[in-house]
């Protein structure tokens, strides 16, 4: 682990030295992190990083080969009902029941959590209203739009009044309006004290929603911390993107990188990107040079920069 942090009693999830093997392949090796009560925690990483495997172990859906997971102070293992009773899971795929109506889909979920018929009916009604699905209560799920289906999946995961809500890529494939609505609902849940465990491929989403996050790759943890801290630490606060410059020009400009707090610079296709802090000093320096300054774009550094810096630009298949 890169950054050891004190583990306190109020942790909702506590993962220590977690290992998962598939035959000879070690999908997760020695991962440790924690999720505090009431926070929104992000688990990020490219495809094949070990995220889904880790989530499955936390949700008591897969066996643990090494290390421990405590969820709500209970040990996680496949089929631990005491944990499953207190968590809600939104999985990557829309696995709504196509043979049931919208209302039946979430009512029966309440029954699976042991609620009485009346209790489940009441809670389902509340959640349908809250997720703006009430007018579709009698519809078949196949008649819903992608955004509605997603909202229904989230509503369903809330039927059991979970203390921990696991959201595995909750907005993949949604249009901007639907994403905004999901984000608003996640924030609302957080304000109600629900602890949220999120995975996503959208770095802007993680940056907006997460109080703290972990970036994983190849079964291990690369970085951990609040988004702003991680960004500042790994790439710096801002980025200058210079386009239309020759390599000679770049070599000349690069001589002055020491004038600012530059973390690194790299070619991204035709663009030369410089990351760091106090980059205005660098700009001032460059302006004093003879040659005219090339076109540049100055922006805040983002989690996406961190992600690509840590996990590389190669495609993961």
């Amino acid at each position: 682990m890169l950054h050891k942090t004190a583990i306190t009693a109020s942790d909702v999830v506590r993962v220590e030295g977690l290992v998962k093997r598939y035959g000879d392949f070690e999908a997760v090796h020695g991962v440790s992190f924690f999720v505090s009560e009431g926070e929104c925690f992000g688990l990020l990483g490219p495809n094949g990083a070990g995220k889904s495997t880790t989530i499955r172990m936390i949700c008591c859906l897969a066996a643990i080969d090494g290390g421990t997971i405590q969820v709500l102070e209970l040990p996680a293992f496949p089929g631990n009902q005491a944990i499953k009773q207190q968590i809600g899971v939104v999985s990557q795929d829309d696995n709504l029941d196509p043979d049931l109506t919208v209302r039946e889909n979430i009512e029966i979920q309440g029954r699976f959590y042991g609620q009485s018929a009346g209790e489940a009916r009441e809670r389902a009604q509340e959640l349908l209203v809250w997720m703006q699905l009430e007018s579709k209560a009698k519809a078949q799920v196949r008649d819903l739009s992608g955004g509605m289906r997603r909202r229904l999946v989230i509503a369903r995961a809330l039927m059991g009044k979970p203390r921990l809500l696991v959201l595995d890529e909750p907005t993949t494939g949604l249009d901007p309006q639907a994403r905004q609505l999901v984000w608003a609902k996640v924030r609302e849940l957080k304000s109600q004290g629900v602890t949220i465990f999120l995975t996503t491929h959208y770095m802007d989403e993680a940056e907006r929603l997460c109080d703290r996050l972990v970036i994983m790759d190849q079964g291990g943890i690369l970085e951990e911390g609040p988004p702003a801290e991680v960004i500042a630490r790994v790439v710096g606060e801002e980025c200058l993107e210079l386009s239309g410059i020759s390599e000679d020009q770049q070599v000349q400009l690069a001589r002055h990188l020491g004038d600012a707090d530059v973390t690194f610079s790299e070619w991204q296709g035709e663009i030369w990107a410089v990351f760091g802090s106090q980059l205005d000093r660098l700009l001032q320096r460059w302006q004093t040079l003879d040659s005219s300054l090339p076109r540049f774009y100055r922006r805040r550094a983002s989690l996406e920069d961190v992600f690509l810096r840590l996990t590389g630009r190669d495609l993961r298949e």
């Binding site: 949700c59 008591c60 859906l61 897969a62 066996a63 496949p78 089929g79 009902q81 499953k84 009773q85 899971v89 999985s91 795929d93 829309d94 696995n95 709504l96 029941d97 196509p98 043979d99 049931l100 039946e104 029966i108 979920q109 029954r111 699976f112 959590y113 042991g114 369903r156 995961a157 059991g160």
Partner: protein, 259 residues
Amino acid sequence: MKGIVWPRFSHGAVMVFRRDFLAWVKYYKSSLLLNFGEPLTNLLALGFGLGMYVAKMDGVPFVDFIGPGLLAVTAMNAVTFDTTFGAYDRLNVNGVYESMVTTPLSAGEIVAGEFLWEACRSLLYGTVFFIVLLALGLVHSWWSLLLPLPLLITGALFSAPALFVATKAKNNEQLFYYFSLVITPMFMFSGVFFPLSKLPVLIRDLILITPLVHVVDIVRALILGHPTDSLWVDAAVVVAYTVGLSILPATALKKRLTG
């Protein structure tokens, strides 16, 4: 024995049953029609058509002989079709089981719920076929009132291997192997159309270790009204099969969902 999972009959299992019922309500008309076309055709074409040439079978008119056998087959098929194709979809296509195990439900409870539902389905479809037999004057005894019992057990019995096959099948086509290699041969050779008494001993013994023939025996004895002591043997075999087979799907499903 480690790794073996038994069906778990609990509140959760009853809720899985409820889910199946809610789903069935939406398509029961087409489902009833589909499940009756074939046995009814068999009954009419073979029973009354072929029956004109075959005077008696085992001492009773041919149509009276095959009626109860077809009832047992109707129950078996109603359960087998629904479980194989339905469970295959719930497991591999639309993720219904996957979603269920994220709730407090276990694989054992899902399987138990399916058993409960298929037992009821068997009772339901068997009873409708019974009404057809009644209307055609093919029911001869008050012993028939005991039919719900063997029908319920038959439902659970045949849903177990079907669910197991659905769990193990790699694609939809493999489900048909189960029909052509197991269900259809059982249907043809389990004493539905002809008694086993005249078959060579070896073949008869081979047939007697399969389950359907015992269900047919029980159903026929109750409908024709001549129960004998050998029915206890039939009942014991049916119950043993039901209990023994029940560990197959629960164990396989648990491995699939939380392996």
